[in-house]
C-alpha cells in the first residue's frame, strides 16, 4: 500500500473520537465541550486537507488557519480545566496570534506550510499539558486510567512533543530528500493515530456525574 494511503488512514482515525464525542456529547458540559469541538474541527480539517490536496495540490492555507484555531481552542480547554486567570490566557492568545501573523505574513507566505508557529504552539501546549498531567498524577485519588483529563493530557504531551521536533527540519528547510520528509510525516501521523485512539477512550470515559474531590 502506498505511504500516502497509510498517512490518510492514520490521520482519519480521528473519526473514532468524533463518533465517541457524538455518543457522549450530552455529558460533555463546559469541561469537555471545547475538546469535542476541537476534535470535530480537526476531523473536518483533515478531510478538507485531503480534498484540497487532490484538487488544488496544496492544503497549506487551511492548515495554517487550522493551527491558529487549534491553539485558541487548546488555550480555552486549559483555561477551563485550570480555572485560571483569564488575563493570562488572553496574553498567551495574543502572543500566539502575534507569532502566527509574523510567521505567515511577515517572514513567510500563508500559502506555504510554515513551521515556526507550529513549533511554538506545540511547545506551549506541551507546557500546559505537562502541568495539568503532573497535577493530576500528584493529587488525583481515583483511578488515573479512567480520568479523561489524564488520558487527554497524556496524548497531548506525547503528540505535541513529537510535533515540535518533527516541524524543526521543515522550519529550517533542511535539505533532506522527500523520502526523509515522507517518513517524518508518517511518523507524526502514527503518533496522531495513537493520540486519536487515546482521545476516543478518554471521551468514552466522560461520566454523567463527576465526583467532587479536594486536594489533600
Amino acid at each position: 500500500m502506498p505511504v500516502y494511503i497509510w498517512y490518510i488512514i492514520l490521520n482519519h482515525t480521528i473519526l473514532f473520537p468524533v463518533v465517541a464525542g457524538i455518543i457522549r456529547f450530552r455529558y460533555a458540559g463546559k469541561e469537555y465541550l471545547p475538546f469535542l469541538i476541537l476534535i470535530w474541527i480537526g476531523a473536518f480539517n483533515d478531510t478538507l486537507s485531503l480534498i484540497l490536496a487532490y484538487t488544488l495540490k496544496t492544503n497549506a492555507l487551511n492548515g495554517n488557519l487550522y493551527v491558529l484555531l487549534e491553539y485558541s481552542l487548546l488555550l480555552y480547554i486549559f483555561y477551563n480545566w485550570n480555572n485560571g486567570k483569564a488575563t493570562w490566557y488572553i496574553i498567551w492568545l495574543a502572543l500566539g496570534v502575534g507569532g502566527w501573523v509574523t510567521d505567515n505574513f511577515v517572514y513567510h507566505s500563508i500559502s506555504d506550510n510554515n513551521s515556526f508557529f507550529r513549533i511554538a504552539y506545540s511547545v506551549i501546549t506541551f507546557f500546559f499539558a505537562v502541568d495539568r498531567f503532573n497535577k493530576i498524577v500528584v493529587f488525583e485519588k481515583a483511578q488515573l486510567f479512567k480520568n479523561p483529563q489524564f488520558l487527554i493530557c497524556t496524548a497531548f504531551v506525547v503528540y505535541y512533543f513529537c510535533k515540535a521536533f518533527a516541524e524543526i527540519p521543515n522550519a529550517y528547510h533542511v535539505p533532506f530528500d522527500d523520502v526523509f520528509y515522507m517518513r517524518l510525516w508518517l511518523g507524526l501521523a502514527s503518533m496522531n493515530f495513537l493520540s486519536n485512539i487515546t482521545y476516543g477512550i478518554a471521551i468514552l470515559c466522560i461520566q454523567e456525574k463527576r465526583e467532587f474531590t479536594v486536594h489533600y
Binding site: I119, F127, V130, N134, Y172, V174, P175, H215
Partner: protein
C-alpha cells in the same frame, strides 16, 4: 561547510535546546506539585492531630471536673451517713474503697488524655512526672534527665513531644522486654533534643515498615514530621532501641 550544513546544525541545535527546555519544565513541574502535596498533607495532619488533641483535652476536662467532682460529692455524702451495724459499716468501707479506686482510675485516664501538668509546669516536668508514674507501676528501671526551661517550645509542639514520649514508652513496655530506660530532654544549640534508649530486644525496622505494622512508630514519625524534627532510630536484635529527635525551637 556545505550550504545545507548550517541549516542541519541549526535544526539540531534547536532540537537540543527544545528537548532540554521541555525536560526541565517537565521535572520542575512535577517537583512543584510534589511540594504542594507535601504542604497540603502536612496541613491536613496538623489539622487532624489538632482536632484529636482538642477532643482529648475536652474529654479529660469532663472526666476530671465533672465525673471526678461528682464522685467526690458522693464520697462526702456517704461519709456523712451514720451506720450502726458492723455489716453496714463494712459494706460502706467497700463502697468508699471502690469510689476511691474509680477516682484514681479517672485521674489516670484524664492524665493520659491530657496532662494538665503539661500546661501548668511545662514539658520537662510532665515527662519526669510520666516516667515517675510508670516506674512506680512497673518493675522497669527508668533514668530521666529532663532539663528544659518552660515555654521554650510552643504549647502545640510540647503536646507532640509529650505524645511521642508516651508512645515510645508504651512501645517499650509492650514489646521490648527491656529492664531499663534512659530518657533525656535538653536544649542543644537551636534544637531541643529528645533521646530515649532501652536495653530490650529491639526490632526489625524494615520488616515493621514493610508489613505496615507499628502504628505507634508511624504515629511517632507523623508527629516528628509535624514538629519539623529529625528522627533517628537505631535498633538491633537484642541490643535495644535508641530514639533520637532533634526538634527545632
Amino acid at each position: 561547510m556545505y550550504p545545507g550544513e548550517t541549516r542541519i546544525y541549526g535544526a539540531l541545535l534547536t532540537g537540543l535546546i527544545l528537548f532540554t527546555g521541555l525536560m526541565v519544565f517537565f521535572i520542575s513541574s512535577i517537583v512543584r506539585y510534589q511540594r504542594k502535596r507535601v504542604v497540603a498533607y502536612h496541613d491536613l495532619m496538623q489539622e487532624e492531630i489538632g482536632l484529636l488533641e482538642k477532643e482529648r483535652s475536652r474529654i479529660s476536662n469532663d472526666l476530671h471536673d465533672e465525673i471526678g467532682m461528682m464522685l467526690s460529692a458522693i464520697k462526702l455524702l456517704l461519709s456523712g451517713i451514720k451506720l450502726e451495724k458492723t455489716a453496714d459499716k463494712t459494706a460502706m468501707e467497700k463502697v468508699t474503697g471502690h469510689i476511691e479506686e474509680t477516682m484514681l482510675k479517672i485521674r489516670h485516664l484524664a492524665y493520659n488524655l491530657m496532662p494538665r501538668i503539661l500546661e501548668t509546669k511545662g514539658l520537662a516536668f510532665a515527662v519526669n512526672d510520666l516516667l515517675n508514674m510508670i516506674s512506680f507501676s512497673n518493675s522497669i528501671k527508668i533514668e530521666c534527665h529532663c532539663i528544659l526551661s518552660k515555654g521554650l517550645l510552643d504549647p502545640a509542639k510540647e503536646i507532640h513531644v509529650f505524645r511521642i514520649v508516651q508512645e515510645i514508652i508504651n512501645n517499650i513496655l509492650k514489646h521490648s522486654k527491656a529492664t531499663a530506660i534512659l530518657c533525656e530532654l535538653k536544649e542543644v544549640g537551636k534544637n531541643v533534643v529528645l533521646h530515649i534508649t532501652d536495653n530490650g530486644i529491639g526490632f526489625d525496622k524494615r520488616r515493621v515498615m514493610k508489613l505496615r505494622q507499628g502504628a505507634g512508630l508511624q504515629n511517632i514519625a507523623a508527629r516528628a514530621n509535624l514538629l519539623g524534627a529529625k528522627l533517628y532510630i537505631t535498633t538491633q536484635h537484642n541490643k535495644g532501641t535508641d530514639y533520637l529527635f532533634e526538634i527545632p525551637i
